[in-house]
C-alpha cells in the first residue's frame, strides 16, 4: 500500500496530509516516510552487458544518473566507456539517451554534472541511429559491447562494411609511430584501440567480452593495453606489429573502395 503526499509547513511541526477516505493506514499505524526520488531510484533496474563486475558506488551513480535523466526525458539510458572499467581511472561518464530526438544535450548534461560532480558526456540517439552506428562504426560497436543500460538491449545489427567510413576512421590512427614520443599514454591507447577495433570489425571477429584492453592485448601482445595506459611501452616493442596491422587494414579498405567503385 503506497500513498504519495507532500510535506507541508506547520507552526510547531510540519505535516503530511492524507485523505480520510482511503484504503489502509488506520489511525495509530506507524509509517515510513521516504523521499519520492529514492523510491523512483529503487525502481530503476540496470541491465549489464558483458560487465563482469562493477563497483557498488558506480552502480549507485548510474542509477542516480538514470533516474535524473528519466525524470526529465523519456527514453532508455546506456552507460558505456572507461567509467565501467575496474578502478577509477576515467575522465568522464559516457551516457547515451535513446530518444527520438538526437544530438548532444548540453543543458541536461550540465545539470547532471552539478548533481554528481562528475563530467558527463550525454548524447541523444534514436534507436535506428544507434543500430546503424553499431553496424558501421567499429569503435562504437566496441564500446557498445560493454555497457549498463536501463533496458536489456538486443544489438542485433549486422556489420555493414562502409569502406569510405572505415577509411575515415583509420586515418585517426595513421600518425601513431611518427608521434609516439610526443603522445600521452591515453592518446596512444586511443589510436591503438581504434586500429584494433577496425581490424576486428573488418574481419568479422566478435569483440572480446572483457572489453577494450582484451581486444588490444589479443591484437598486439599481452599487457600492451596496460603499458600503453601507463605510457611505459617502448616504440620498438609495438612498431613492427602496428605497421603490419595498419598496412593490412589500409590495403583492405582501399580494395573495398575500389571494388565498390567497380560495382557501380
Amino acid at each position: 500500500m503506497e500513498l504519495i503526499a507532500r510535506v507541508s509547513t506547520g507552526s510547531r511541526m510540519d505535516q503530511i496530509y492524507i485523505a480520510k477516505q482511503r484504503d489502509g493506514f488506520p489511525i495509530g499505524s506507524y509509517v515510513l516516510i521516504k523521499p519520492l526520488e529514492t523510491v523512483a531510484k529503487e525502481n530503476i533496474k540496470l541491465f549489464p552487458h558483458n560487465i563482469a563486475q562493477v563497483e557498488p558506488v558506480k552502480l549507485y551513480i548510474i542509477k542516480s544518473l538514470a533516474q535524473s535523466i528519466k525524470s526529465r526525458h523519456e527514453g532508455e539510458v546506456i552507460v558505456f566507456g572507461s567509467f565501467l572499467n575496474p578502478g577509477f581511472r576515467f575522465n568522464d561518464v559516457d551516457v547515451i539517451l535513446l530518444s527520438s530526438t538526437e544530438g548532444a544535450y548540453g543543458t541536461i548534461g550540465k545539470k547532471l554534472e552539478e548533481e554528481t560532480g562528475l563530467k558527463i558526456h550525454l548524447t541523444m540517439l534514436s534507436e535506428p541511429s544507434l543500430l546503424k552506428g553499431i553496424a558501421t562504426d567499429p569503435l562504437f560497436a566496441l564500446l557498445m559491447n560493454n555497457h549498463i543500460a536501463t533496458k536489456r538491449m538486443m544489438f542485433d545489427a549486422k556489420r555493414d562494411l562502409n569502406f569510405k567510413l572505415l577509411d575515415l576512421h583509420l586515418q585517426k590512427s595513421k600518425m601513431f609511430i611518427e608521434n609516439f614520443e610526443m603522445m600521452a599514454g591515453s592518446e596512444k591507447l586511443k589510436m591503438v584501440r581504434n586500429l584494433a577495433a577496425i581490424e576486428y570489425f573488418m574481419k568479422g571477429k566478435k569483440f572480446p567480452k572483457q572489453g577494450t584492453d582484451a581486444l588490444i592485448d589479443h591484437t598486439f601482445s599481452k599487457g600492451t593495453a596496460l603499458r600503453l595506459r601507463d605510457n611505459t611501452l617502448l616504440k620498438e616493442e609495438i612498431k613492427k606489429r602496428y605497421r603490419q596491422v595498419f598496412d593490412s587494414a589500409q590495403k583492405e579498405i582501399l580494395k573495398g573502395i575500389s571494388d565498390g567503385a567497380q560495382q557501380k
Binding site: T136, N162, K164, Q171, K172, M175, N179, M191, L254
Partner: protein, 116 residues
C-alpha cells in the same frame, strides 16, 4: 624528447596533412558518419600539430615567409598524394579543390601564417 627545428616542422607538416585529409574525407561521408554525434574529442593529429607548433619559434607570431611557403607546399603535396591515391581506386566525391583552402585555414588557425 627534444627535437631540432627541422624535425619539429616535419612532424608538424605530417600532422597538419593528416588533419586536412581527415577533414576532407569527413565531408565526403558526412551523412553516414554518426561518430560526429558522440565523438567529443579533437582529432589527435590536430592536437599534436598544436603541440609541435608551440615548440617552434616564434610561438605567438606567424613564422617567416620562407617557412610558411615550405609548410604550405609540403602539406598540400602530402594531402594531394593521399587523396589522389584514393581517387585512383575509384573513390568518388573527393574534392581536391578543398585542399588549399583547408591547408590555409589550418595554417592561420595555428598562427603559422598571418592574415592576408
Amino acid at each position: 624528447m627534444v627535437h631540432n627545428r627541422n624535425k619539429l616542422i616535419s612532424l608538424l607538416i605530417g600532422n597538419l596533412a593528416n588533419a586536412v585529409i581527415h577533414k576532407i574525407l569527413e565531408q565526403a561521408v558526412q551523412e553516414e558518419n554518426l561518430r560526429q554525434h558522440y565523438d567529443k574529442e579533437k582529432l589527435t593529429s590536430l592536437t599534436l600539430a598544436i603541440k609541435y607548433r608551440e615548440e617552434i619559434n616564434p610561438v605567438n607570431a606567424p613564422l617567416p615567409e620562407a617557412d610558411v611557403s615550405m609548410i604550405a607546399a609540403q602539406t598540400s603535396k602530402k594531402v594531394d598524394a593521399e587523396l589522389k591515391k584514393r581517387i585512383a581506386r575509384g573513390y568518388d566525391s573527393l574534392n581536391l579543390g578543398l585542399v588549399e583552402p583547408a591547408v590555409n585555414q589550418m595554417l592561420k588557425g595555428l598562427v603559422i601564417k598571418g592574415d592576408d
